[in-house]
């Protein structure tokens, strides 16, 4: 369970997160949506202490994260970066195996895990010795997901993980991840500005605007409409898509 209590963060007098209270029960798939500058990524990074909040506490399974060494905390949480963030000088296998390596797991065990993870994210084993620059965009995203899962974390944080992909690979990868999430019993928190993607993936959607949570609910409920016009405006896109698809299909 991830708990944020009264979390605030600001830069140069400008508030990015204002008094955030959020509880994410174990096993859920929560998607944070909002426009640019809404504070989604900042919120995500406070969970694994990449960003320290100015006020408030973040705790995981009842333990406050500021009481844990940041590097130890981060090794226990998978993280997929917005711009993939693979190490350009390391092979695919080295990238995937990095956190286990930091944890001191032996090489044979790491090799076995890498092999399994490549299978899990549906990449051919032959890619293991390639460098990130020798992969396609979709392959890189899959490697990033595999890396996030390598130390068998119970929580995975993802920042626009499928952003740079074409719609087909994007849908496929999102589906594959959703399956992994269920199989591995993960708690997943994903950030996206794409509400359609949020609707397809999430158990629960949290909408951020101007550093505050303005809506929090299951996708179906949010699609019905909301009192806050900012939330409504966001969910207008999937609603219109749905209407148009029905019209076209009906005609």
């Amino acid at each position: 369970m991830i708990e944020l209590k009264s979390v605030s963060k600001g830069y140069d007098g400008h508030s990015v997160l204002r008094d955030i209270n959020l509880t994410i029960p174990t096993g859920r798939f929560v998607v944070l949506v909002g426009g640019s500058g809404a504070g989604k990524t900042t919120l995500l990074k406070t969970i694994n202490a990449l960003i320290q909040p100015d006020r408030g506490t973040v705790s995981i399974d009842g333990v406050a994260t500021h009481a844990i060494e940041p590097h130890a905390l981060r090794r226990s949480i998978g993280y997929v970066f917005q711009d993939v963030g693979l190490f350009p000088h390391m092979t695919v296998a080295q990238n995937i195996g990095i956190t286990p390596q930091l944890l001191g797991i032996d090489d044979a065990e790491i090799a076995e895990r890498v092999e399994g993870l490549l299978k899990l994210v549906a990449l051919p084993a032959g890619l293991a010795l390639r460098l990130p620059s020798q992969l396609s965009g979709g392959q890189r995203q899959r490697v990033a997901v595999a890396r996030a899962l390598a130390a068998a974390p119970r929580i995975v944080l993802m920042d626009e993980p499928f952003g740079a992909l074409d719609p087909v690979s994007r849908g496929k990868l999102a589906d594959d991840y959703r399956t992994l999430h269920r199989h591995l019993g993960l708690t997943s928190v994903l950030v996206t500005h794409d509400v359609t993607e949020a609707v397809l993936l999430a158990d629960r959607i949290v909408v951020l605007a101007d550093g505050e949570i303005v809506a929090d609910g299951v996708p179906g409920a949010l699609l019905q409409g909301h009192e806050d016009p900012r939330v409504n405006a966001l969910f207008d896109a999937p609603r219109r898509q749905e209407r148009r698809i029905r019209e076209v299909a009906g005609a």
Partner: protein, 521 residues
């Protein structure tokens, strides 16, 4: 010419080895200092400006001056450790060269390392934090490997600079390829100069190419990259071990260390001293091409055992005297005062003077009606004065100006060899000649008399270091030279080395000189 080349090449292994050891250790020391400093400045931005400022400042000091400045500094330190720890160290040669060259190599290393670290994609650094690396792991696993190719480019620049600048360590007593260049320029032995220049250029090119290979290895990431990094680190360790080894060798190797300043007469007398000592079955080491002030201080500090200096030089530069009580009195007072002050023994005069004297082409002097320094004063404002590198900053020049009111139209400084050439070629009208120089007679020059005695006497005297003061083998070997070499004999020997045709090496000239004063071979 063939013989000269063979003679030059015979000295190559020793000089090249020292050049490599010196350059490599200076580079290793510079890396060992610069890399951590650059990483520190990368973490703490406030350090960047002072670090880059300091290393840029060092770069603006001419390298020869930087090398020369380290000698007195280390001499002071050595004296301090001798009093405090009862264990001094040799401030001549290796150590000052190493430190000066290392400082010099720091700028490209610091600049490239900082730029390389700053140039890493911030997303990659955040990813390193995100996967759970500590700051140290981030540096070792991500930042340094990614910065390595640019850092290596800095190492390449630094190594080429260092190999070039290492030739300048010769005047502070470090054997290097610069020995060829300095003595070659003095004796107009162009083969020597070319051998020195070519050897250091080839060395620089080879090292640059090898490092380029390592750089490409580092650029190729993954497994090959890691192998490259390991190779580099291994090489660095080897180099450091090499760097420290010369310090383990006792400075004098148990033998006698003979010094010489940078001109032909000094080389010949050093060789003559060496031949006398070798005949007495003593081991000798030579430190030729020392700066004028370096030589005396090195002798007083015990880094040299014996060399020949000139009474007037010691009188004015060491004792700071400006009066001129006459040849005998100067010698007598000098002997007493050097002993009392520094424990240095003046074994005795060789018999000839090598005085500073102003000289002109004989026909120019006749045309202008100049017969002495008094006549010169009248026309000096329309004349060009060619001085050697030190004369105009010596007290003798001040006393000449006071005694005669000399004022030249223009003053230019030359290496002694080029000073004679300038007079011959008409670029200078008056020069600071040396009275024992063979070229005075050969070029038909007029040495202008000094009727007011402004210039002190310059008797060549054999000096012995404090720790060899009672050394009977040394005194026995050199005693027979005292009072035996007259000016004409010395001039002949000097000319045989300096002339354009039928040149002989200083060692051969020393043998002939020994024969002519009746010493057994």
């Amino acid at each position: 010419m063939h013989d000269q080349l063979i003679q030059a090449l015979r000295l190559l292994p020793d000089r090249l080895a020292w050049h490599v050891i010196l350059s490599a250790s200076a580079l290793a020391l510079a890396c060992a200092l610069s890399l951590p400093l650059a990483v520190l400045a990368y973490r703490h931005r406030g350090l960047r400006w002072p670090l880059l400022g300091f290393s840029s400042l060092v770069q603006t000091i001419p390298s020869l001056a930087l090398l020369a400045l380290f000698y007195p500094l280390l001499l002071g330190l050595s004296a301090l450790t001798k009093t405090v720890l009862h264990h001094g160290f040799s401030a001549l040669g290796y150590l000052p060269s190493l430190l000066a060259l290392s400082l010099y190599a720091m700028l490209p290393l610091l600049r490239n390392t900082m730029a390389a670290l700053d140039g890493i994609d911030p997303a990659v650094i955040e990813a390193a934090r995100g996967v759970g690396m500590t700051a140290k792991q981030r540096l070792r696993l991500v930042e340094l490997p990614l910065a390595a190719p640019v850092i290596m480019a800095g190492v390449r620049t630094a190594s080429v600079w260092t190999i070039g600048a290492a030739t300048l360590s010769t005047p502070i007593g470090q054997t290097s390829l610069g020995d060829y260049i300095f003595s070659g320029l003095q004796t107009e032995n162009w083969i020597d100069v070319l051998v020195g220049v070519a050897a250091s250029a080839v060395l620089a090119l080879v090292v640059d190419q090898l490092l380029a290979r390592v750089e490409r290895g580092l650029g190729a990431s993954g497994r090959a990259g890691r192998a490259g990094t390991r190779l580099g680190l291994g090489a660095l360790a080897v180099v450091l071990a090499l760097a420290l080894s010369p310090l383990l060798i006792p400075a004098a190797g148990g033998g006698y260390v003979i010094g010489a300043k940078t001109f032909s007469e000094q080389y010949i007398l050093a060789e003559l001293t060496a031949q006398r000592l070798e005949r007495a079955r003593a081991h000798v080491a030579r430190k030729l091409n020392l700066g004028s002030a370096v030589a005396y201080r090195a002798l007083a500090a015990g880094d040299l055992d014996v060399y020949v200096d000139y009474s007037g030089t010691l009188w004015t530069n060491v004792l700071g005297r400006t009066d001129n009580p006459g040849r005998e009195a100067v010698l007598k007072q000098l002997t007493a005062e050097l002993k009392a002050r520094d424990g240095v023994t003046v074994l005795g005069p060789l018999g000839f003077e090598n005085a500073y004297a102003l000289a002109m082409q004989r026909n120019t002097a006749m045309r202008l009606g100049i017969r002495s320094l008094i006549d010169l004063t009248l026309v000096a404002p329309s004349l060009r004065f060619g001085s050697d590198l030190e004369f105009t900053s010596r007290p003798e020049w001040a006393s000449l100006q006071t005694a005669y009111g000399l004022k030249f139209g223009q003053i230019k400084q030359f290496e002694p060899t080029f000073m004679y050439r300038a007079l011959e070629g008409g670029e200078a009208d008056v020069i600071t000649a040396f009275s024992s120089d063979g070229r005075i007679a050969a070029d038909n020059l007029l040495v202008l008399p000094d009727p007011r005695g402004a210039l002190p006497p310059y008797d060549a005297v054999v000096l012995i270091s404090p720790k060899r003061a009672g050394d009977s083998r040394l005194i026995g070997a050199l005693g027979p030279l005292i009072g035996k070499i007259d000016a004409e004999t010395m001039r002949r020997a000097n000319l045989s080395v300096d002339r354009d045709t039928n040149k002989v090496s200083p060692a051969e000239a020393a043998r002939s000189l020994g024969d002519s004063i009746g010493l057994p071979r």
